[in-house]
Symmetry: C2
Subunit: 219 residues, 2 copies
């Protein structure tokens, strides 16, 4: 069973102080902290499964969900260190929850820590968790209009992933619209097309992550 942290047991401190505490922890240990933000069912957990399956990269995960430990159980089954945080109605993670979860983890030898945020394109964007990068995870079935409808996320993202590309033949997804709108919001952001089921695009994703790890370890 994966560990579960109850929100209400976490000590509440000023959010910005705790974000800085998380940032400082990760700076000292040369851990890259990646905040995955996407809609419910956009494929965030499946992306992490594929990252494990198709690469040698060593990482740990903090799973954020309103309820259930289902995602943490999936990650735990891969032998990846994981803690589940349940918000019990809360629509996003805050730095105090990440700080609390880090305290529960053995991060020896880990250079990359994912936070899988609550499925939501709006609220998680506003909360600094002390992360190095926010990564926007948007799936093909959600439609190509998402960057302009949820511009704050796409503007702030350090990378944008378009997942479930295997469904492109069955949907009227206009990838030109998606790319043009994204370019307006965030011209130089790395944009990767990914099919986590067969590994398409995972190599490029892992290279991006490895670059981030190299950059942080050389600071």
């Amino acid at each position: 069973m994966a560990k579960v942290v109850d929100v209400k047991k976490s000590v509440m401190e000023a959010d910005e102080v705790l974000a800085e505490k998380v940032r400082s922890f990760c700076r000292d240990r040369r851990i890259v902290l990646v905040n995955l933000i996407g809609s419910p069912g956009s494929g965030k957990t499946t992306l992490l499964e594929a990252t494990k399956k198709y690469s040698d990269i060593k990482f740990a995960v903090i799973e954020g969900d309103v309820e259930t430990a289902r995602d943490a159980e999936r990650i735990n089954a891969l032998g990846v260190p994981v803690v589940q945080v349940n918000t019990h109605g809360g629509c996003h993670l805050e730095a105090n929850l990440v700080n609390g979860a880090i305290g529960e983890m053995d991060l020896e030898g880990i250079s990359l820590l994912f936070v899988e945020n609550v499925g939501n394109l709006v609220c998680p964007v506003e909360f600094d968790l002390g992360e190095d990068y926010k990564v926007a995870v948007n799936s093909v079935p959600e439609g190509a209009d998402k960057p302009m409808k949820y511009p704050h996320l796409f503007h702030k993202a350090g990378a944008v992933l378009l997942t479930k590309t295997d469904l492109l033949p069955y949907l009227s997804f206009d990838i030109d619209v998606f790319e043009k709108d994204l370019e307006k919001l965030n011209p130089d952001v790395p944009f990767l097309k990914i099919n986590s089921m067969n590994g398409d695009g995972i190599k490029e994703w892992v290279e991006l992550l490895e670059g981030w790890v190299r950059e942080k370890s050389s600071r």
Copy 2:
């Protein structure tokens, strides 16, 4: 062009007072108010398009989005009365926005008013808009684990729609898990499977809506 209401121009009053005002308005005019809640890209607007295409039911729409009037333009193109509400970062609609939008609409001859909430499975659930029913819109690509991961919505829903059923052959969606979890949360809720592209399930959806309209008009 569809009308756009700016949130910041709306008069802020106590939320519960305004929800009651909306409820009273709809009671007096025998208008059924339906609050559509689903993830970004779950097919809420496409459901409304199909409701118009495959039925004679007369309805109006209040479109809620963080940014853009794209959804209202789609509804406007069908000749359906519509007002777009932009929240500019807000993750849900509140009663003051619905009340303001109603003031902008000609609802003569309308017996059904949809509010399409901001794409989000968490925050919209907590805010009473004065609606008769919350309807949960969940699409097949989001996965079968959504009821238990977002139980508050499914527990409170007056109907649950599973959309994009044309994608079932291409995905490992376990409909038994979905139905069993839903039954635990909300045993008697109407559950409809819908493909808005070819109209599958729309007849049952329209019959449900017509029943709600008949019930309200006979009160």
